[in-house]
Symmetry: C3
Subunit: 209 residues, 3 copies
């Protein structure tokens, strides 16, 4: 099931990268590349930091077909997607949470400290969007946004905590998925945000990713 | 011969990085560093993604002398180079094609899927310029440009296809070099470009790299 | 002693990252992340380029507590730090020099050429600040600044030179620390800078890091 969600997640991320690339007036190649970097960049950075080779898309190049296809489809259907923004945010939230859990699994298998495991889950979840914003020359949204990274950390910590206390892996996966997904939706709905230091009040919620 | 072309290619790339660094009013150190990152960044990213150690310039630090020398020379001769723009574009096209073939060779030796091989050739060819633009704080030209990355993909695919059908390596190298180089020149001359999604017509050709 | 200085150095770097993140109106998470990336990014890039695994903070996740704590403390005490700017610059200079020596030690242990050792020392010293500036979407200060990278190169070269001529490691460390630190202070005090190509005179000294 997590594998299926993973494919949905990389497609959603590829679509978000493609839409950003279009706003920068990139050509079709740029759209496909930024989509792919957004979808696969987080896992790649995690694996490079862990020295965990080969990278996922090097072993499974068919993932590239998914991300390129999703990026081009998003570019063609851009107007439709703008109207379906809330569906898009749901997919993106599912992707964030799934990426975090998958990232924890992969990092845990390398035997690193549990704090690093949760951090690697977060890197898997957010670094793709961070790369997308760096390549598109803007201050990463993820660093200014409504609990995006926090959701990833909470999901990973919950997942690893459940595993630590002997909960079955499938149950832990489902529980962490559900908790993280609902936390993200609550953050979107209620415009929850971490305080911005030096400001009187929390940052206003940015526009949807 | 490919080694000789490689040295020309890293010099041309270092020069293109140096000129960009000058436009950003960087000091001599910045010029040398951006030139070196432009020249060696593509190969470094390829090797880090493949887990292929040691990196080229770690094993052959003398490459750094080439890139630093070329960057400083380009900075000193900036006015001259502006007039020699077409010679510069020729060298850059040669570099792109040579980088792509060399990148394919190195990736193929690690035993990855042929699609990943061609992709690694492209990364070798374009990632240096992409890093240059990220460090110089602009949206990467390579994502908005006239067939730059496409030339790299075509060159790599042709090269790997010829090898696959048993063509001699030297012949395949020459054929891919010639085809890629001419495609790049044709793209420059005829302002060929991939369509920009969401626009009525293809992007106007940007100014020479 | 170098370990103690290292902890001071990563705290100072984390603080400098946090202050930059605040200027970009990032939330508390962004402040902690940019601080951590600034503090640990240089060493991480060095280790990834060398294929030297596991990374420092993967093996010692307690470093993350230092950098996150320092980043949040700097965010809370931002007004105070603005008044203590010269203390901050001293810490930053100490950090730059300590990072350079530690980077040389780690690179030398992998058996690479001495030129690569000194370069890796410089990457350890400056790449964190470079990542900070890329993430915060500005042209890296380190590429436009008063002898920052040059101090790192001189420190590393002096350190490796002393070791080469049989000087005791502790003595070499102290000598390189003292020389690099004083060179950096002299550069700050006298507004020393490398020439900027294409300009009539050296760049004016930017504001303190």
């Amino acid at each position: 099931m997590l594998h299926f969600i993973y494919l949905i997640a990389i497609s959603a991320e590829a679509g978000s990268g493609a839409l950003m690339a279009m706003r920068r007036k990139m050509d079709l190649f740029g759209v496909a590349l930024v989509g792919t970097v957004t979808a696969l960049g987080g896992g790649s950075i995690r694996d490079v930091l862990l020295g965990h080779y080969p990278l996922g898309w090097v072993r499974h190049p068919e993932y590239l077909l998914f991300t390129i296809g999703a990026a081009l489809a998003a570019a063609l259907a851009a107007r439709l997607l703008q109207r379906m923004k809330s569906a898009f945010l749901l997919l993106d939230a599912l992707g964030l949470v799934a990426f975090s859990i998958i990232g924890c699994d992969i990092a845990a298998a390398t035997g690193v400290h549990v704090a690093v495991v949760v951090l690697m889950g977060m890197i898997t979840g957010i670094a793709g969007g961070l790369l997308r914003d760096v390549v598109c020359n803007q201050v990463p949204l993820v660093l200014r946004r409504d609990l995006y990274a926090t959701v990833s950390l909470v999901t990973g910590a919950l997942y690893m905590g459940l595993l630590h206390y002997g909960v079955d892996r499938d149950v832990a996966t489902l529980a962490a998925l559900a908790a993280g997904f609902n936390l993200r939706l609550a953050a979107l709905r209620m415009s929850l945000a971490l305080p911005v230091p030096g400001q009187g009040k929390p940052a206003a919620r940015g526009e949807g990713r």
